[in-house]
Amino acid sequence: MATPENKLAFDGGWAYDPAPESTDHISLKKRYGLFIGGEFVAPENSRYFDTINPANEQKLARVAEASEADVDRAVKAARAAYSGVWSRMPAKERGKYIYRIARIMQERAREFAAIESLDGGKPIRESRDIDVPLAAAHFFYYAGWADKLDYAFPGQRAKPLGVAGQIIPWNFPLLMAAWKIAPALATGNTVVLKPAETTPLTALKLAEVIADAGLPPGVVNIVTGAGKTGAAIVNHPGVDKIAFTGSTNVGRIIQRALAGTRKKYTLELGGKAANVVFADAAIDQAVEGIVNGIFFNQGHVCCAGSRLLVQESVADEVVAKLKERMETLIVGDPLDKNTDIGAINSSMQLEKIQSYLKIGKEEGGEMHQSACRLPKKGYWCRPTIFTGVAQSNRVVQEEIFGPVLAIQTFRSFDEALAKANNTPYGLSGGVWTDKGAKIFKMTQGLRAGVVWANTFNKFDPTSPFGGYKESGVGREGGLHGLDAYVKLGAR
């Protein structure tokens, strides 16, 4: 019965004034060296690259590009710290250092949030309310494990691996650093971490925190650079473990590169999660979950609900509500407290997303975008949905890593489950229904490591995260996240 004139109007009328987060309390250096052996040092070849603000394309700082020799220095520093101090230290003391990191991060939370939004383009609301508090909570959680590892592995004695090489992506720069560093340190390993080249700043600020916390030099080393620096870490013979979060393609390259070595590895890779909405769902909350599933962090989320499977009898209603909801999403200045969708992280990523928009249309999909105005400078993408697409379409199959949702309909439970699982990925999934038995049938049937029922994109330090199939190997977070950083032996 819905008619066009019954649509709601969200444009014009009352509008929110700009409410920018102030940046006068943050301190950024003009140039950052590499954090090796407890201090910032210049890269041996004196090469630096710019890190820019994707919301206005302005330079924020110069950052060192670590060469193979620099990585070697970092690994040696980590090895020395491992053998000399960290692996010998009583576990309780180790834990107390990690607690310190958590506390200092909490004290400096607002600064971290502002820098995260400046460097990565994500809305300040998210960096302030999600990324930074979760990162601190992660350190707090794993700090407590340091002296309790005997209880994590019944019947076994857990020993550290040595030096962990960690490579993290640009979508949650600080949070991913915390996910990587906290469990590694708690289990007695030392770390060489490389943040993504487009978002190095919060990791470098974290280096300051680590220094302020008084961690022994070399326990955590942070080297900046692009793929070559990452490869140097992966291939360094002095590294005992690789932890990588990023694309499935690079994960595959890393798994190959590690072939024939004794290095352990964990991989957190891509995804193409289905969010399954049944007719008996709490529809308004489901719509909210769909929005949160795909538009959170500009869709730069490996576990994003980038496929919507909606039962045919409610498909029109859900899509109509989704379109209306999209009109209320505010796209713009990441530092504005009212921004819902910030800047796309880089021009490269924007090009990739735009190429998929083109592909989607060429495949015959019907594209709909919200009518929001976009800033002139910077990298932006309107919230986008595709209807009229099918399993055989690329926008349904491939990870776009942007605010682009592919919508399909289904008739029966079995059809929904089959479509949801019809992908090489298996990171996450969602199900919306008011019926408990159906929830369990769906959550058990989904071949994915994280399943959200009547919610989506929730994270917690105590909650293991990681993928099935091509979405990765191993888990991060929770009790199970400790596995990645220990070798087990008989007591």
Binding site: M1, N6, F10, W14, Y16, D17, A282, I283, D284, N454
Partner: protein, 308 residues
Amino acid sequence: MSVAAVKKARRLPDLSCVPAVDEVGVNERVARFQTRSIKKSAKVEALKLILSMIDLTTLEGQDTAGKVRQLCQKAIHLHDAYPGLPHVAAVCVYPNMVSVAKEALAGHDIRIASVATAFPSGMSSRKVKLEDTRTAVAAGADEIDMVISRGEFLAGNYRYVFDEIVAVKEACGDAHLKVILETGELGTLDRVRRASVLAMHAGADFIKTSTGKVQPAATMQVTLVMLQAIRDYYRDTGRMVGMKPAGGISTSKLAIHYLVMLHETLGNAWMTPEWFRFGASSLANDVLMQLMKQSTGLYQSADYFSKD
């Protein structure tokens, strides 16, 4: 749809088809509204709009003609030190005070709302409730705030509740009907949603959260659920229904959160006193203090604002 057609379409809907509501999801959505930062001119605009949406209310057993007259004075003269302020939407009183308010507000464009139907409990016969309504309308009430029979609703006697609203709507004549669900007694958001649907189908012009006599009164959670019910009803029928949260909204900050929620749920068309009201007694002064602070830059003291 014409009024006659709407009337004709008044049928008790199948409440089992009303979509479920997930409480945690509602809480999360509400939390998002609360993170909106409303500043500068957007804030001033919001504060003025809030003032214009207030149903200035006194519903006490101890109400007297004197008290009601003073309240009406307040309604007319919100804060004369601040030129160009809007007036409140209405004053809301008991039926026996309607004539007093009528006289006090004569010549002013402020509506008179009266509670009726054995407010606040509604525990009386239909005959008494209808008489109560007719009395208030006859005395000059422009708007009637009725209560639903919560006991009957909770017992599953939806037909009873529905027919009662239909009958009261008839008794209202030209007066607008606001239907109070008393959400604090309904227990779950699912029931709030169902009661909203029932009330709208029965002919409510407004749906309203609370009497103010039961805790919890209005919350953003129940208001959101009711707004979403209004939106779906509008989508299905083309008829706009108004919304009135009442009780417990006493600060500008909270009222602005409500406005944000309204703005992002129903859009511009509802952003007027015609379609949205705050049932409140002390909210006006806090809004006035904020407005003065915005214009003077100084934080204000309650001593400078009249309490009537």
